[in-house]
């Protein structure tokens, strides 16, 4: 029998449906803090059916995204559905097929449990980003800490030390909490920009259903000393673009993301921190951001 559960991430509710004999929900520990008893009115942002069977989806490849050992192949079926195939270390873990408009779709899982979890998380992240791009929402690649109720986001390419810098803040200041270590969500709302925890947090199990007012965004660069300065205009915009997941070859979604990035670049204090992996970097960063 098909079972249905609802999850609320950054105020967007989505539905996951799966056969209850398939143990799909058992794989979704990290989603538990986000679960809703029922759909609180209206329609979900999207509805995903998860099927545990190999399905041969025929599609034409458009592009692929490679990061370390992970690869996403993107394409379209003849009837216009968007297809995302997730690979981990060269092994196909799952295929996501989204119907036009990104409101519903199916994720086909194959292989072992670890790969199923990988495909589930990637499939839901992609679907979430696509279905909320026009709603002032962006899924970031970032680590976020909270101090005095204010969220500070750290950006940077893989390996720059976002997680390390977040850890250094917690070492240096006793009242700092980690909100998310890898994939927080930022949402522009009537009363400003908020940063939310999510069920996706990279290698760190930090799945908090909480939010904080977005206080500042800091783009990190490794350097031989600690130094902070403001980022403005195009430079600020670009550092956001590089840190936001999303499919920019769909014009409407690209326009939505651009609008969000452009507003954030102008409304949120942004900085570049050239830093060492030491506690002094956390202090230089906090002082720089606070005295802005």
């Amino acid at each position: 029998m098909l079972q249905s559960r609802f999850y609320n991430v950054a105020g967007h509710v989505f539905e996951v449906r799966a056969d209850d004999s398939a143990d799909v929900f058992w794989l979704m520990d990290n989603y538990r803090p986000f679960e809703e008893i029922s759909l609180p009115g209206g329609v979900p942002a999207f509805s995903l059916e998860v099927a545990c069977r190999a399905e041969n989806v025929e599609y034409a490849e458009e592009t692929r995204q490679v990061e370390e050992s992970q690869e996403i192949i993107c394409g379209k079926t003849l009837s216009g559905q968007s297809v995302f195939e997730f690979h981990c270390s060269g092994i196909k873990a799952g295929v996501l097929v989204c119907n036009e408009g990104f409101r519903d779709g199916t994720l086909y899982l194959q292989q072992a449990v670890d790969l199923q979890r990988f495909a589930l998380n990637n499939g839901l992240m992609v679907f979430f980003a696509l279905s909320t791009a026009l709603e002032g929402t962006a899924l970031f690649h970032s680590a976020v800490v909270v101090r005095d109720g204010v969220g500070y986001m750290f950006l940077g390419k893989s390996g720059t030390g976002k997680s390390t810098h977040a850890r250094l803040w917690r070492q240096r200041f006793s009242d700092v909490e980690l909100l998310n270590d890898d994939n927080p969500v930022v949402r522009l709302e009537e009363d400003g920009a908020w940063v939310y925890g999510s069920p996706w947090s990279g290698k760190t199990p930090c799945y908090k259903n909480a939010r904080a007012r977005l206080g500042a965004v800091v783009d990190l660069r490794q350097a031989a000393r600690n130094k902070i300065y403001p980022l403005r205009g195009i430079e600020a915009y670009l550092s956001l673009v590089y840190s936001i997941s999303g499919m920019r070859w769909n014009r409407s979604l690209a326009d939505g993301l651009h609008a969000t990035e452009n507003r954030l670049a102008q409304e949120i204090p942004m900085f570049r921190l050239e830093c060492l992996p030491d506690e002094n970097a956390a202090e230089v960063c906090y002082e720089g951001v606070r005295n802005f």
Partner: protein, 88 residues
């Protein structure tokens, strides 16, 4: 000539910028800032096929410039677009 697929003109923090966002343009690792004249020409060029002459003609209609000046301005801008490979 025509603009390659995937390149879009965006207003970024008050400036006009060409970004590579489409499938064929994802490797465009930079962005191109346009002045008002270049942004106007880009909008015209977005309509489809163009030549230096066709753009120069539109420039003369829009701005108070001589034909020679328009052609020389357009040539310089188009050469820059060719150099960064946003047109074909």
């Amino acid at each position: 000539m025509k603009i390659k697929k995937g390149f879009v003109l965006r207003d970024v923090c008050g400036e006009k910028v060409i970004m590579g966002e489409g499938v064929g343009a994802l490797d465009f690792g930079r962005l191109l800032c346009l002045n008002d004249t270049a942004a106007f020409l880009w909008e015209v060029a977005s309509a489809g096929e163009f030549t230096v002459d066709s753009l120069a003609e539109r420039l003369c209609q829009e701005y108070d410039v001589s034909e020679d000046q328009a052609r020389s301005d357009v040539s310089a801008i188009v050469a820059q677009w060719q150099e960064v490979k946003v047109i074909e």
